[in-house]
């Protein structure tokens, strides 16, 4: 599904080039639930952003479903965002001015889904996440866990092939974190959604089936991990 070949990402300052990612080679199959782990500054988030088209690599090749992403135009990239990729953020990143319902609905608006259809889809996902009662509340009226639930619901509503999650449980306490991870696991197993998450926690990583370890912008080891 995803194939990274010799990906480099660096910052150039006057006489010095600082590598953030160096020579990354990585393949991800459809249906995997991978966790990227490593110390701060290892380049985890940058890698995730490149995977999600939010950032470009300086060199190397990126194939997404055999499509060369490094050659795609901005417009095509934005098409892929809409149809293939869902993001979940550590800080939830809901729009403060919009209600739960409207936040979840937003990706459908950008995909120009028709009104009646949109309503059905949002209702269904609210139902599935058990947040129907909260649909008219604003983000600041919710707890962190509930906000993240909305965040996941928003990422899922477009039925993406790939969910990218940047420390999705980083701001949550353990009960809430477990809830989100169980949800991820369920989505992965029952619906076959590919998930890549960045995490610091071994425990959170253990919900997945693969761990990718990074240090100083390089992949250290990279092995399949059997759940439970």
């Amino acid at each position: 599904m995803i194939k990274l070949t010799n990906i480099d990402k660096y910052l150039d300052k006057k006489f010095q080039r600082t590598y953030i990612l160096k020579d990354i080679n990585l393949e991800l199959e459809q249906g995997e639930f991978a966790s990227i782990m490593g110390p701060s500054g290892a380049g985890k988030s940058t890698l995730l952003n490149i995977l999600g088209f939010l950032d470009d690599a300086n060199s190397g090749e990126y194939h997404f479903f055999d499509e060369p992403v490094h050659n795609l135009s901005e417009k095509q990239k934005s098409q892929y965002h809409k149809s293939h990729i869902g993001f979940v953020f550590q800080a939830y990143h809901l729009i403060d001015e919009l209600t739960v319902y409207e936040n979840i609905e937003m990706p459908l608006l950008y995909r120009k889904v028709k009104g009646s259809e949109r309503k059905g889809m949002v209702a269904e996902i609210l139902d599935r996440f058990n947040i129907v009662a909260k649909k008219d509340l604003f983000p600041h009226q919710l707890s962190g866990g509930q906000q993240q639930l909305v965040g996941v619901a928003r990422a899922l509503i477009g039925s993406p092939k790939l969910i990218l999650a940047d420390e999705p449980t980083g701001n949550l306490h353990s009960d809430q974190a477990t809830e989100i991870m169980e949800l991820f696991q369920k989505l992965n197993k029952e619906e076959g959604v590919t998930i890549v998450q960045v995490t610091h926690s071994e425990k959170m990583a253990s919900y997945g089936n693969r761990i990718i370890k990074m240090k100083d912008g390089m992949l250290l080891e990279n092995f399949p991990h059997m759940a439970d």
Binding site: G52, E74, S78, F87, I95, E97, L98, E102, P107
Partner: protein, 788 residues
Amino acid sequence: MLKNYLKTAFRGFRRQKSSFLINLSGLSIGLTCSFLIFLWVLDEMNVNKYHADTDRIVQIMEFQEYSEETFATLSTPGIIARNLKEEYPDFEYASNYTWNSDRLFSKDNLNYYENGLDVENDFFKILSIDLVYGNRDELLTEPNTVVLSEETAKKYFGETTNPVGEAITYNNTTELIVTGVFREMPDNSTFQFDVLLNYDDWLQTNEWASDWGNNGPRAIAKLIPGTDQNALNDKILNYVKEKDVEDDSNVEVFVYPFAERYLYGQFENKVQSGGRIEYVRLFIIVAIFVLLIACINFMNLSTAKATKRAKEVGIRKSIGASQGSLIGQFIGESMIISFFSLFISILFVELSLPVFNNITGKTISVDYSNPVLLSIFIGTVFITGLVSGSYPAFYLSSIEAVKSLKGSLKSSFKEVFARKGLVVFQFSLSVILIISTIIIYRQIQFTQQKNLGYKKENLVFFTVEDEIYDRWDTFKEQVEAIPGVQYVSRSSSTFLGRNSNTSGLDWENKDPDSRILFENVIADHDLKETMGFELVEGRFFSEEFGITDTSKIIFNERGIEVMGLEDPVGKVITLWDDYEMEIIGVVKDFNFQSLRSEVEPLFFRYRPDTGWRGFVRIESNNITSTLAALEDTYKSFNANYPFEYNFMDDQYASLYRSEIRIGELAKYFSIFAILISCLGLFGLSAFTAEQRSKEIGIRKVLGASVQSLVILMSKDFTKLVLISIFISIPVSWYLMDIWIDDFAYSSGIEWWVFIASGVCALIIAWLTVSWQSIKAALMNPVKSLKSE
């Protein structure tokens, strides 16, 4: 989608009330100012344009060449219209007409002065004058006829009567037959009159006007369709010169589009140059500037608050929003605000129109069914939304999603620089307006306070006619006896502009080619004392010498200077080739025109029994009773005339009516410009205070005083305002120098005006910023540190 944007926008406005209100009020004030100006401009552009076939209506004008200058004038020989029409088929209709003056009408104990002109029948065929009664072909075709306005007719003949064929008394002597009644001229016409009299009657009593060498009456014409005005001008250029063979005529004739004369009516050396259009242009620029200042507020606040919006941008981008859709969203938001402002500003416009009309002397009202007006309003709002929304939209939409989501967004140097630049721009414009206002006001004050060479205070004048004209000496004696009256005199001049002039003077060693125009003033022996003129040499006319003084002449200093006479007293000059006049005195130069003009050559002749204007100098106490006694005396001579008088200083002040208007307008616009700029500064300082709250907290914990913190936070803004002041000084100096150059006598541009304006702007800016700074500095540091 639109609904989603609207929700985001409206909830955003609610959350950030202060910046929303600042934007809304700034834009509303900006739009109000520009709408008022546009209304004024539209009104100015439409003056005299309502006549049918307006492009065929022309003013017949003259260039008169003198040694010092060539000027364009409306004065023409009094028979030029009929002759041109007869000799050139290009003229379909042509009419000479006289100038506006007050004419006495009476009927059944009603005596009023009516403002009137003498016109020919063609006048009604050239201009679109609506008739209530009468046949257009028969108006003023017979001697002793008159046409009245609807209001005037009602005044004398009652509400419902058709007065055509009825008689009305003119000047207490003549019975005139009413031949028609016309509707009042609309406000956007420069022709305004209550009565129109028969021009031929006037011509008979003013024989001089039938002479090709004399100019005075005006002339207007309608050309046949398709006339090439340039070709016509080539044909008629020397028309008067050919007719006036006995004099050495200096007159060139030309036609000029009547409707354009209002805005483009000034000529310099035979070339059209300026006119009211310059003020129109100036105020359009001011309108754009005020609006721009308001737009800048919007841009600055939006980009300053970008950190708050950035998260939303990041989220929308990660969900798949394209940059285009974000640009659309943000421009849409500014459109919403600017359309809100539209409604508020329409309310403001309606509220302020009475004051505005008062200042501009217009009667503007908003006609919401006028498509031109509506499209200007909506177009302005649209452009405002676009301009103020564009920079924030492009700026915000270009924020990188990764950065904004990580919260690592910092204001880049470029962005801060742009924001500062915009503040400098705003304040520069504001300071330019303040400086200009002060200079205009100083000049108006200067015109009122300058020593004119005569004393304009406590001087009353009125028209001398009928019994008072004939029995002047008796009248004068009686008035002089009134307590509080100091001097009484009569003259032929108003001393408020040119009245009569001539170039028919000869003196020793005169350059035969020179042609110099002298103001020709008739005086009696008390004019010097009454007006307060000063003598430089010789003597003024005196009763002692009686009738022999009629062959004497007195010049002003300028007159002596242009003739180049040394020791002028005792020398003899020749007037109109026939009269030898001995110079007996020289009067110190005095301003007998507005201060836009230099003092020009002038002479006095002694004709104690012919001046039509009476002057009375009174004491400054008991003015009311003095005037009451004066009126009694007046009435005892001229019972059938209303006593209408004016104070010289009031009339003098009205010479500067347009300057006073400009000054008033400039005052309001600079107040609004600085107000809007300060609104923006207020918003920005609130933002900075918020952004720096952590820094302030730390400094406070480390022992910084409130005072030092306020200074710290005001420093940046002070720098910006100082830069603005330095930019605005040369610009406003340059602009005002052009303006003040129109005056021959001016207060000049003084350095302290710039300093005062700068200090004023600085203080206002400080007050604006300090409120936020003090608030931030007084805040409990624990709070601000905790919030991180």
